[in-house]
């Protein structure tokens, strides 16, 4: 089954790499903001503020995490050999992430349902879990960029990306809170966003500095004319977003809560630009500089049957996800079952 003249061995891996990339991007933005909200909880002063933080992500977090399952699922089904190589190399950070996701996921429920005396412990578990998940994801990002080899230099870099990604998540979390809260809490969220933007800039900077030096191939993509032109819009847009955020955060909150959604939109754009830059740099490799998506791909007949389903199901998923965000639009309300 050729597509636009490409044989299935070429276009199928490409299609799945795109699908996986899209899932990871959606995951990073969606779970990014809710992990970020989790890490901001220690900065709340009252229990009511903490409840409001949880309420702002309560109806969404579960579906947000499902994008991680989809991404890892596509890696598993479409690129099975790469899945084994990547996850075996990242055994420990994956464990830390899973441990964190477990802690934090159950804390949502326990903090609301367990006896009131236990609530502070579950709040702590919620924060620690969010932090573990963010740090380990940042660590894995760093190790991945460095080619999944455990040397001291690489681990050092990965520790840096761990910190920066966590600050980045906190930033997008604060931006989410600016949109979803009001009054004193919203003012605090604006303050948190101002504090977090530094981390984001440093993080994007560090990854951008390191990536081209990972391999001469990526270096050429970045700095060789005319290839470099393809990449040029990304730093320009990113720079514009940073300037915009810098300027906007000083003016919020505005009358009638206007533009409260713009920091989140700008943060999303920033995340997207950085992500596309990375994807562009590493393509066509799924394990950096070792295994390409074409080498790692499953048999075409298996990929076709998944793709057929995906084309039906993915629009539906996007549709009802949008519906859910629409139903729970506006400022976060107290969560109740009745």
């Amino acid at each position: 089954m050729d597509l636009l003249g490409f044989p299935p061995e070429t276009w199928l891996p490409w299609a799945f790499a795109s699908l996986m990339g899209l899932s990871i991007l959606i995951y990073v933005i969606l779970d990014g903001f809710d992990l970020g909200v989790g890490m901001l909880m220690p900065f709340c002063e009252t229990e009511a503020e903490k409840d409001r933080l949880v309420a702002s992500i309560g109806p969404f977090w579960d579906a947000n995490e499902t994008w991680l399952v989809l991404a890892i699922g596509i890696l598993l089904v479409a690129f099975p050999t790469a899945h084994g190589v990547i996850l075996t190399a990242l055994y420990l950070p994956v464990f830390v992430m899973l441990f964190g996701l477990i802690l934090r996921g159950v804390s949502f429920e326990f903090r609301a349902k367990a006896p009131a005396a236990q609530k502070p412990y579950w709040n702590t578990a919620f924060v620690v879990g969010s932090l573990m998940a963010s740090l380990s994801q940042g660590f894995m990002l760093g190790m991945y960029i460095m080619g999944l080899t455990w040397t001291w230099a690489h681990v050092g870099f990965a520790v840096l990306t761990a910190v920066f990604l966590s600050v980045g998540y906190s930033f997008i979390g604060a931006a989410w809170l600016i949109a979803k809260t009001e009054g004193a809490l919203q003012k605090k969220a604006i303050g948190w966003a101002k504090g977090g933007i530094w981390g984001l800039i440093l993080g994007i900077g560090a990854v951008s500095l390191a990536t081209p030096f990972v391999s001469p191939r990526i270096f050429d993509k970045w700095f060789e004319f005319p290839q470099a032109l393809y990449l040029a819009p990304l730093p320009l847009i990113s720079g514009a977003m940073v300037v915009f955020l810098w300027w906007k955060l000083r003016r919020l909150p505005q009358e009638n809560d206007r533009y409260a959604w713009t920091p989140f939109a700008a943060a999303t754009t920033l995340f997207t630009c950085s992500y596309i830059g990375m994807a562009y740099s590493f393509y066509p490799y799924v394990v950096p500089e070792k295994i390409t998506i074409y080498e790692a791909a499953s048999a075409p007949e298996s990929l076709l049957i998944i793709l057929a389903g995906t084309l039906f199901v993915l629009p539906a998923i996007l549709g009802y996800t949008a519906l859910s965000y629409y139903i729970f639009r506006g400022k976060a309300q107290e969560l109740h079952y009745d």
Binding site: A63, V94, F99, P115, A299, E334, Y337, D338
Partner: protein, 462 residues
């Protein structure tokens, strides 16, 4: 211990912890839909109260299931890379369909089901409840397709040591799927029935006299009494299916070493793999032959037929399979007695007047479904060893080359958090039951269709 054994224990621990919660959510979703539909039809507040209590248990169970499920999707790669490398072309699409058709459906509509009651129209909320129940059931379907295929693989060919699909209908509707799916669906129903009956009995013991708790108790007990005979029948049929496709597993379940006729049904024995015989056998003569072959002199396959020429076992370790099977059946028998006994007493005295010992027994059996479900899974999954996919890949071939110390240290931490969370889960459900029994209202709202007066506001449920 080596990496293989540690990885098996680790995956076993993860999947055991995981299955506890889907076992509850699969059937509880449908029970919640039932409560909601009763409320829609009658407008009686008790059904909404029952819904509001059990939806909390559902939310808690769901979160536990989600986080432990994510863990498993990663462990395929971290611990069992050989699985996907060898049979990824088959397992992959099945897992993908699970995520796409089930995971997202349940995760998105869960938010609307839990927190949307006052935000969307009533029918949308009922629809969301239905979609969550449907999603969990679809999820079970795809997972059991893959699991059944691992026991009774077909519809594929091996090219260069890698499985390639040749017929997807054969893969999906493989010979053990109908039995395994029904057996698990009934197990989920029974687990929830006993959980509802047990927690309701516990609330009655704590002085809760509300109509909601009596109705829930009736639903739990009658559901249990109705499902358990079906489950016993289904278990028997599943056993016959296993006898056909995995005779070595049945031989281990029966503790039968030699292929022979007139095999007894062993009630007690200590299978000894050194001497390849049983110590301290107590059995019912011809019992196993009667059950498996429906005649006293029926020939039952023996374990000694499944030893390779070089002496390696091609059958599972006998004692764990033998005992898991007996624990499952024993729990099932206790379920049969208790549910039927209680059902008769409810008919005679009413759900509000059950004797205390009966209420205590029901409370004690609240989590009995977990024991039976785990024992059943141990029987079938340990019974699949040494194969990962029957006749295609062994467990040993699939394990990751990770240092045993790393597997051991993460295993210990997993076990610690699983134990803590299981206790916290059981404790919280008990606490919720006590809180409800003290008469704290589950809601201070006037439901749209409720004719009752609004109860004074104390605190919102969430």
């Amino acid at each position: 211990m080596d990496t293989l054994m540690l990885s098996r224990i680790q995956f076993g621990a993860n999947i055991s912890f995981h299955i506890l919660f889907p076992t509850i959510t699969i059937a509880l979703g449908w029970v919640l839909l039932f409560f909601k539909l009763r409320f829609n039809a009658t407008g009686e507040r008790k059904w909404m109260d029952a819904y509001l209590f059990w939806v909390k248990v559902f939310a808690l169970s769901f979160a536990m299931g989600v986080v432990s499920g994510i863990t498993m999707s990663f462990q395929f790669g971290t611990n069992w890379p050989g699985f996907m490398e060898k049979v990824g072309n088959i397992a992959g699409p099945l897992l993908a369909y699970e995520v796409m058709t089930a995971f997202f459906l349940e995760a998105v509509f869960l938010g609307i089901m839990l927190f949307g009651f006052s935000r969307v129209k009533n029918w949308v909320h009922t629809l969301a409840t239905f979609l969550v129940a449907f999603g969990t059931t679809m999820s079970m379907f795809w997972i059991l397709v893959l699991n059944s295929w691992m026991h009774t693989p077909q519809g594929f060919e091996m090219i260069d040591g890698v499985a390639h699909a040749t017929n997807w209908l054969e893969i999906i509707f493989n010979p053990s799927l109908p039995y395994r799916f029904t057996h698990m669906a009934l197990a989920s129903g029974l687990t929830v029935a006993f959980l509802i009956a047990g927690i309701s009995a516990f609330r009655l013991l704590w002085g809760d006299r509300s109509e909601a708790v009596k109705s829930a108790l009736r639903v739990g007990v009658f559901l249990a009494a109705g499902l358990i005979p079906a489950q016993i029948l289904m278990g028997d049929l599943h056993g016959l299916n296993t006898l056909e496709y995995q005779p070595q597993k049945v031989a281990a379940m029966e503790g039968n070493w030699e292929t022979q006729s007139n095999v007894p049904l062993l009630l007690f024995a200590l299978p000894n793999e050194e001497t390849r015989s049983n110590d301290f056998e107590i059995g019912i003569p011809n019992g196993a032959s009667l059950i498996l072959k429906h005649k006293a002199d029926g020939v039952v396959p023996g374990l000694n037929d499944f030893v390779a020429e070089d002496g390696t076992n091609l059958h599972p370790p006998v004692a764990p399979v033998f005992w898991s099977f007996r624990i499952m059946v024993g729990t099932g028998m206790a379920m049969l007695l208790l549910s039927w006994g209680t059902a008769v007493m409810i008919r005679r005295y009413g759900a509000g007047n059950l004797p205390k010992p009966v209420l205590w027994s029901l409370s004690g059996m609240a989590f009995s479904g977990w024991i039976a479900t785990l024992a059943g899974w141990y029987t079938t999954e340990i019974g699949r060893q040494p194969w990962l996919v029957q006749g295609v890949v062994t467990t040993k071939e699939a394990v990751a080359d990770v240092p045993p110390t790393m597997v051991l240290s993460t295993l210990i931490l997993y076990l610690a958090i699983y134990a803590a969370l299981t206790l916290a889960y059981m404790g919280t459900i008990t606490y919720l039951a006590m809180k409800a029994a003290r008469g704290e209202p589950l809601s201070n709202r006037k439901y749209p269709r409720s004719g009752e007066a609004e109860i004074a506001a104390i605190s919102p449920a969430e």
